[in-house]
């Protein structure tokens, strides 16, 4: 379990982007399967810039995988085609453990994701609150540029409109700046999936509902401490909003 500050920062930024309000998006178009590699750079108020590890997104119609290969960790979100219910598996390869979150547990933790935001890094609806300032292209793919302010942050998004993924997300306040940049894009998801989802039968599978009975387990303690620092799970109402990245 890494306690690397930048990794936590990266995690916090990504979750703060992804964990928007739950919205149905039933009318959202199907998005193409894709694997994408990103890197995050964070500049603090003393102008020190730190580069985070690569962050991967693997997107298929009923599955979204996010991974930080340098930490040997991944998250696998799966949506049931019939019920639409979403489950989460968090993979910790170094510890050979998998944590499962059932739909009911995700509901209880107020952590049901916006599926389309999950597969697009950020909520596509949030783009509507920004101003489209221009167009361009990246490796032959059309790009739309958005600019604006959300929650006191200045946001710049270069958006791959066909792939429905950001090419770049630049978020800044007076005190800090973070830039998430796309490094590579691949229509094939197989290779990346194989690399981050290499779970063997000897992995121990934990139901997150059992954490309360596992407080003395060092692994559970570490995960809960990490989640606590990142304020991973939102509260149901009356939440004092805070993200580790800010």
């Amino acid at each position: 379990m890494s306690k690397n500050g930048l990794s936590l920062l990266l995690f916090g930024i990504i979750t703060s982007i992804v964990n928007g309000p739950v919205t149905a998006h039933d009318d959202a178009p199907d998005v193409p399967s894709m694997s994408a590699r990103y890197r995050l750079e964070v500049t603090d108020e003393e102008c020190r810039t730190r580069q985070g590890p690569e962050w991967w997104l693997i997107r298929e119609s009923s599955r979204v995988v996010t991974a930080i290969p340098a930490l040997d960790q991944a998250e696998v979100w799966t949506r049931d085609a019939d019920t639409g219910e979403v489950t989460l598996e968090r993979l910790f390869h170094a510890q050979r453990r998998v944590i499962e979150y059932t739909p009911g547990e995700l509901r209880t933790r107020n952590a049901e994701p916006d599926w389309h935001a999950l597969g697009s890094v950020l909520d596509p609806d949030s783009l509507k609150t920004l101003e489209a300032t221009g167009t361009g292209e990246w490796r032959g793919r059309p790009v739309t540029m958005y600019r604006g302010t959300i929650g006191g942050e200045r946001i710049e998004v270069d958006w791959l409109s066909v792939e429905r993924l950001p090419l770049r997300v630049d978020r800044s306040t007076r005190r800090s700046r973070s830039v998430l940049t796309l490094l590579a894009l691949d229509p094939s998801t197989q290779r990346a999936s194989d690399e981050v989802q290499r779970v063997t039968p000897l992995y121990i599978r934990l139901d997150s509902a059992d954490f309360g009975d596992m407080e003395s387990d060092p692994f559970v303690q570490a995960v809960e401490a990490l989640d606590g620092r990142n304020r991973r799970w939102a509260h149901g109402g009356g939440h004092v909003h805070a993200h580790a990245a800010h």
Binding site: S62, T78, D80, T87, R96, E100, T102, P103, G104, E105, R107, T108, R109, N110, P201, L202, Y203, I204, R205, D207, A209, D210, F211, G212, D213, M214, E215, S216, V220, V223, E224, A225, D227, G228, R231, W233, H235, G236, G237, G238, H239, V240, H241, A242, H246
Partner: protein, 530 residues
């Protein structure tokens, strides 16, 4: 100033209103803003009825034909009180005067839940105490407290094993059953039929992982996993165990077999055993034994023609009652499972032992989510009511208790009938004044229900000056609301105070005073006459 007394009297006449024969300050003469429906006489009548019923009690010294042990996992006294109010308010009452089904049982005691090595226990040693008569160690199931942590030699475990009330009932020719909304391999139900030094060894892959983690040769641990123990029970238990229902399906399937419901998932067993198939094949085949995994198949089971029923309705724990899909592809309620179990077990004229656990009260509390915990508690009370109605209180001992409590509190001075999940609204200082939210020293409202620790903590970070949130009634009564917690923890914790025991039926009078938790077993043993 010549007649000061008269002038003072006049002033009083302005300030007081006449109510009957007494003088009451006008400011206090309005109707109370809150209060119950009772007349003055009702309080007296209720008390006298209670005394009359008590005088009619007699010690039922008969042997029990049947014993049913209901455990609300984590159902501390505060959970019972809150669930009582919640259920009553859902029925249109004020709530506080309401009674859950088992609260009308004639005998009640307190149970001390510490284990041999824990002041505040987990479910493994507490259930071990209740079904074996001995207090045990943290995380261990139905083995004595001299058992080494991680002991995985089957012979050693056998030598340390403690016979359970279920095994003894089986040996006496009674039918037996185990029902839970948690995994059927989870600590509480598992303690009735399994013996192990590690409660987490629910499937063989966990034992293989243990070997790998500690550098033991693969396969060197000979103790069986809990799911396998449910199938590979002694001949007496195999014949006796008519019903096993709950969650935990993935622990019974080999990792080569896809789950029938969640088709993207597979079982976790590495030994290739398909335990549901074995359940059927080793218990007379499909003509007498059945395995079901959804509500439609469960509903189709005919208790009269089914001898052995295994129901595994989720890969892991069953759904919270609040989330349960009641359709054909969903899962049965705890009440329905209890009813079906008793229908099957009653076929044995020698009687039966049944354990029923509401396993998810505990999980909802761990999540800091009171509403789901209360909904599961109310469903638990319904299951007990059904069992009571289906059995004869003269020959069936029903015990209701909890394995441990939670740090769950009912706080403040809410007025009578205040929504139990809502914000605290106190009785106004002046009758006739509107009921308003009570506020803390910061001027912010707060909820009646809360936790001493857990994920509901909302304290400030250095970047945020807010100390507490501004809550609204709509937020706090939502099913997903997490009550505030004082100490930030990823999971809310168990609590160490006593829990209650409620008893009805033969030898129920032995449940009295403050009891050690393991004495519950001795009451059941005495009732059965073993």
């Amino acid at each position: 100033m010549k007649h000061p007394i008269v002038r003072k009297t006049c002033a009083l006449a302005v300030a007081f209103a006449v109510t009957g024969t007494s003088f009451v300050p006008a400011a206090f003469a309005a109707q109370p803003a809150t209060g119950g429906p009772e007349s003055v006489q009702d309080w007296w009548t209720g008390g006298q009825n209670f005394i009359r019923q008590g005088k009619q009690l007699y010690a039922n010294t008969r042997r029990a034909k049947n014993v049913i042990l209901f455990i609300g996992d984590g159902m501390g006294v505060s959970t019972v009180s809150a669930a009582r109010i919640f259920d009553g308010q859902n029925q249109g009452k004020k709530g506080e005067e309401h009674m859950l089904s088992f609260e009308t049982f004639p005998y009640v005691a307190l149970s001390k839940t510490y284990s041999w090595d824990q002041q505040t226990s987990d479910s493994a040693p507490t259930m071990t105490a209740m079904v074996t008569g001995y207090k045990g160690r943290e995380g261990q199931l139905s083995v004595n407290h001299t058992t080494t942590r991680g002991e995985c030699d089957a012979a050693v475990i056998a030598s340390k094993s403690l016979p359970t009330i279920l095994e003894q009932a089986a040996a006496a020719g009674k039918s037996t059953g185990v029902v839970s909304t948690a995994r059927i391999t989870h600590a509480t139900p598992a303690a009735t039929y399994a013996h192990t030094s590690v409660r987490d060894w629910e499937a063989d892959n966990n034992i293989r992982a243990f070997e790998a983690a500690y550098g033991l040769p693969a396969g060197s641990c000979t103790v069986k996993d809990i799911a396998a123990q449910l199938i590979d029970v002694s001949p007496a238990v195999r014949a006796s165990l008519k019903v096993a229902m709950g969650g935990g399906r993935s622990y019974f399937y080999p990792n080569s077999v896809f789950d029938p419901e969640n088709t993207s998932s597979r079982g976790v067993r590495t030994d290739g055993r398909h335990l549901p198939n074995e359940w059927v094949s080793t218990r007379g085949g499909a003509s007498s034994a059945k395995y079901v995994w959804n509500k439609a198949d469960f509903d189709a089971v005919n208790p009269a023609s089914t001898e052995h029923l295994l129901g595994l309705f989720e890969r892991s724990h069953m759904q919270y009652e609040a989330d349960r899909n009641n359709g054909p592809t969903g899962e049965p309620s705890l009440t329905a499972m209890t009813e079906k179990s008793i229908q099957m077990l009653k076929k044995n004229s020698n009687g039966f032992f049944l354990h029923v656990e509401a396993g998810r009260i505990d999980h909802a509390h761990h999540a800091g989510n009171a509403k789901r915990a209360l909904i599961d508690t109310v469903e638990f009370a319904k299951a007990i009511k059904k069992a009571y109605e289906m059995t004869d209180p003269n020959d069936t001992l029903i015990l209701v208790s909890a394995d441990h409590s939670h740090v769950f509190t009912i706080a403040g001075y809410p007025a009578r009938g205040n929504p139990i999940l809502g914000l605290v609204k106190e009785v106004p200082n002046v009758d006739g004044d509107p009921v308003e939210n009570a506020v803390d020293s910061l001027g912010l409202p707060y909820t009646t229900l809360g936790y001493a620790n857990g994920p509901g903590w909302r304290g400030s970070l250095p970047t945020n000056s807010a100390v507490r949130p501004t809550l609204t009634e709509a937020q706090t009564t939502a099913v997903d609301f997490l009550q505030e917690a004082t100490v930030p923890l990823g999971s809310e914790t168990h609590a160490g105070e006593d829990v209650a025991i409620y008893a009805s039926g033969p030898k129920a009078y032995l449940v009295r005073g403050v009891m050690e938790q393991n004495w519950i077993y001795h009451v059941m043993k005495e009732a059965f006459g073993f």
